[in-house]
Symmetry: C2
Subunit: 154 residues, 2 copies
């Protein structure tokens, strides 16, 4: 069983990119992965060999790439952490969708699934209890950013 923490941040990015491409096109290609991660094709080939040696992807030279069952499990766990963080950054800390995506991509590699779930509980509490019942979204934005609306993103 591969533990997420055995993978470098960059290998995690590869698995996540393959998951997204598989969802979109059923399979992933080296060229598409290179474009998605903004890296050179030889770097992709190198990473795929490591991922294959760990049993996380099916990959033969010049063929399509698919996640193995284990690779799918790891990729989904990373994506799950990503969603938890991006939701928190956007809904609670009032970042723009783009900034939230960007920062979530960087933080997702350093948190455990358990911590991601705490971020999710916090987001849910702020959305369902605080913003719905105790103050308007504008007031929440002002409380968090210290600014009036329209000046709310960094």
């Amino acid at each position: 069983m591969i533990n997420d923490s055995d993978l470098s941040a960059s290998l995690e990015d590869y698995l996540e990119a393959i998951l997204i491409l598989e969802k979109r096109n059923r399979v992933a290609r080296v060229k598409e992965i290179a474009e998605a991660l903004n890296v050179q094709m030889p770097s992709v080939s190198g990473a795929l060999k490591v991922l294959r040696s760990r049993g996380l992807v099916h990959y033969e030279k010049n063929s399509y790439i698919r996640l193995t069952e284990e690779g799918m499990k790891v990729a989904k766990s990373i994506q799950d952490r990503h969603f938890a963080l991006a939701g928190f950054l956007r809904k609670v800390l009032n970042l723009s969708a783009d900034s939230a995506q960007d920062i979530a991509c960087k933080i997702e590699h350093v948190i455990t699934p358990e911590l991601a779930s705490r971020f999710r509980s916090l987001t849910q509490y702020i959305e369902d209890e605080v913003i719905a019942n105790q103050m308007s979204r504008d007031s929440w934005e002002m409380l968090i950013t210290g600014h009036q609306k329209n000046d709310s993103d960094n």
Copy 2:
């Protein structure tokens, strides 16, 4: 004017370590920095040369190291982000002090001072409004972790 974002995460760690050592001993030494960051002494010398070339530290071979005024400003900004994150992770997400320090060290490099300040506002709101007025700390821990107390850290 050096912008924080011009520095790699590892150079930021050096400045932070020098700040802590200066506070403790008035000056920092290569050996102490190497111990604090768990790196070899030649790596420290290399990093100090880069920091010196950017006007962030005073450093001559075999002498003490001190932050310049600009270096102090950058180091304090990093430390400020670190405190904001560690406080949030401990008080709001209920991590142990050690886990909070550890994760804050990794995240502090990817967030802006503005985002750190939003984390601080959120922590203050949860501490002052939610935990003080609306529920006990135990109830908050249970809400965030989904566990009873004593099973609250990851």
